[in-house]
């Protein structure tokens, strides 16, 4: 890791720790909201960015996580049991969703996962006995931590921050291990990866399952943050938004989701009550996606790489022409 990266990280960490002390209640809530989406899209980044599986069903896992915790809390089960169960359930469902990915790729897979999301959403909306239908589930409690109450927004923020950092470190560890390299090999060329002895069946399924588990944890945190869940935030549109967050930030860049989630949820939420701006945010966001794709198809975080590559090629061509001039001089 380079020196200026470490400095940047230190500044970011300091900001994340200190900032909530100076923010009002709603600001703290918004930061927590952002962290939860960072956590969810981090998982999607593994599936999409590192393993190359085009998944448009991530919000379904997010919703499964949220509903699992909410339903278990209503049944009197502790959050600390509900959350791991939510992650486990998402992991298993993710494994199952991975099976179509063994047969079809790219856009077929995108629509298969999108269809899966529709199905999950229909269950959330129609099965009132389980999910409360469109009325949703009210008064989802927040967890306590070793005797501490996390009911206020500020302590809950620090709790979510802690979970996000731990999950991020786990992901980083995974990506640096041979497993992580296998995921990128799968993305870059599945047939070559297979002939190098990588079990592409297992890795495709795992890419979905681990990504889904991250969404499950994020969903559990989300249910306790907003304390009221209904089907709307887990619809297909939300999955598409999460996909765009990953793509805008930069798929396959570890910090891509941090940036993507800020643009995808924080800015629109922040501007929600500004008249004249709020209704134009989504059209502008859509247009920004189009422009970004045309100018920078690898996402915002590819900008430094792009500049570096440009400079390198300019230097190389300068060196070439200098060499050519020198050769000419010798001939003459």
């Amino acid at each position: 890791m380079k020196k200026n990266h470490i400095i940047l990280l230190a500044i970011a960490a300091a900001l994340l720790l200190v900032l909530p002390q100076y923010l009002k209640n709603y600001g703290v809530y918004l930061l927590t909201y952002w962290l939860i989406f960072v956590l969810a899209t981090m998982g999607l980044n593994l599936t999409v960015g590192y393993a190359g599986q085009k998944s448009l069903g991530h919000a379904a896992f997010f919703g499964i996580g949220a509903y699992t915790v909410a339903i278990l809390l209503k049944a009197g089960v502790s959050w600390w049991i509900g959350m791991p169960l939510a992650a486990l359930l998402c992991f298993v469902v993710g494994l199952i969703l991975g099976f179509p990915a063994l047969r079809v790729q790219t856009i077929y897979l995108a629509f298969a996962t999108l269809g899966f999301n529709t199905a999950v959403w229909l269950v959330m909306r129609n099965e009132e006995w389980l999910t409360g239908g469109t009325f949703g589930i009210n008064n989802v409690a927040r967890p306590g931590l070793m005797g501490l109450s996390l009911d206020a927004n500020r302590p809950y923020y620090y709790f979510v921050l802690g979970v996000t950092v731990v999950m991020a470190l786990l992901l980083l560890g995974l990506l640096r291990s041979p497993w992580g390299k296998a995921f990128t090999a799968l993305r870059d060329n599945p047939i070559r990866a297979e002939s190098l002895g990588i079990n592409i069946r297992a890795y495709t399924l795992l890419a979905f399952a681990i990504g889904a588990a991250y969404a499950g944890v994020a969903g559990a945190l989300f249910a306790s943050l907003v304390q009221f869940i209904e089907p709307a935030p887990f619809a297909v549109a939300a999955s598409i938004m999460m996909y765009l967050m990953v793509v805008m930030g930069g798929p396959g860049y570890f910090f891509g989701p941090v940036l993507g989630a800020a643009m995808g949820v924080v800015v629109p939420e922040w501007m929600r009550d500004v008249p004249g701006v709020s209704e134009w945010y989504l059209p502008m966001f859509g247009a920004a996606v189009v422009v970004l794709m045309v100018w920078l198809p690898d996402g915002l975080l590819s900008l430094p790489d792009r500049i570096r590559a440009k400079r390198a090629s300019r230097e190389a061509s300068a060196a070439r022409s200098a060499a050519a001039a020198a050769a000419k001089g010798v001939k003459a």
Binding site: K54, P100, R103, V104, T106, I107, Y108, A110, F111, A112, L114, G115, T118, A119, L122, R125, N126, N189, I191, R192, V236, I240, Y243, L244, V247, E279, W280, L282, P283, M284, F285, G286, A287, A288, V289, V290, L292, M293, V294, P297
Partner: protein, 291 residues
């Protein structure tokens, strides 16, 4: 049993509209490797254009022709020039993402700039009812089915019988050999985008009387058109028709006999079964994997 035939028939009418949108989808895919995620919005926008032209006093058919013209320029030419052309060399997914962005921009742009309400839209065929052998059918259903089938069959005939159409097919099959044979490849690809825009306009003309003109009317239409295209076979334009009709009919029947709440899952279930067992679609040819 008459119920069944009634449902079956109105399902065919809906399905033929899905087929129009799905046909545009497959044509774009074949000729330009483009997956248009904004296909539903490509139907929504002409609906509002027609409403606009009619508000200025044009009769429905004139408004339709004007909307076709504007669509060919905006949804055909400008779409191809500004989004597809620069992105095509990066492969399929950047275009998918860009058209997702485009669909969000169009949908919410209409909502913010025009209206969030549903607007009524006149039907081309009136609302007469007919009784054929005990089965009640509406003039709108018959008109929609006939009109949509004529357009689909007309497009097929154009592709198969005319020199231009055959040149377009040649481009779709093998761009390099087509250009070696002296076919103007960029122009043929533009024609494909133009045809897609006109098909979207026709779909708008037929679907809006029942769906009403609303900013989010394209959302489910686009997805169903895609499902229909895959079910029928993505690399075969006859597949779009078959897929559209299958989706329309089975949706209608499932809503009546199984559960209206899960109607939207029907296309999805058929789609999943098809891609798991015959990923190339019912009428499609198999494509080999390349290293």
């Amino acid at each position: 049993m008459t119920d069944f035939f009634q449902l079956f028939f109105s399902g065919l009418a809906t399905g033929s509209i899905y087929a129009l949108a799905a046909l545009g989808f497959t044509l774009l895919w074949q000729a330009a490797g483009t997956i248009n995620f904004a296909q539903g919005e490509f139907v929504m926008l002409p609906a509002f254009m027609m409403l606009g032209f009619m508000a200025m006093g044009a009769p429905l058919l004139v408004a339709f022709l004007l909307a076709c013209l504007v669509s060919v320029v905006v949804l055909g030419w400008a779409f191809k020039k500004s989004i597809v052309d620069p992105l095509l060399r990066f492969g399929m997914m950047p275009i998918v993402v860009a058209t997702i962005g485009l669909s969000i921009a169009m949908r919410n742009g209409v909502r913010a700039g025009f209206s969030a309400e549903a607007h009524p839209f006149p039907s081309l065929f009136g609302d007469a009812l007919f009784k054929v052998a005990g089965v009640t059918v509406t003039a709108a259903d018959i008109g929609t089915l006939v009109f949509a089938l004529l357009i689909v069959v007309g497009t097929q005939a154009f592709l198969a019988k005319t020199v231009t159409g055959r040149a377009m097919q040649a481009v779709a099959q093998n761009t390099e050999s087509a250009s070696v044979l002296g076919i103007n490849v960029p122009r043929m690809i533009f024609y494909t985008f133009a045809i897609n825009a006109v098909l979207a306009c026709a779909a708008a003309l037929l679907v809006t009387p029942t769906y009403l003109a609303k900013f989010d009317m394209g959302e489910s239409l686009g997805t169903k058109a895609f499902f229909a295209a895959i079910i029928g076979g993505f690399n075969n334009s006859r597949g779009a028709l078959l897929g559209g009709l299958i989706v329309g009919v089975s949706e209608n029947l499932a809503a009546a006999y199984i559960s209206p709440a899960y109607k939207d899952a029907v296309a999805l279930v058929i789609f999943m079964v098809v891609i798991l067992f015959k990923p190339q679609g019912l009428l499609g040819k198999k494509e080999e994997r390349k290293v």
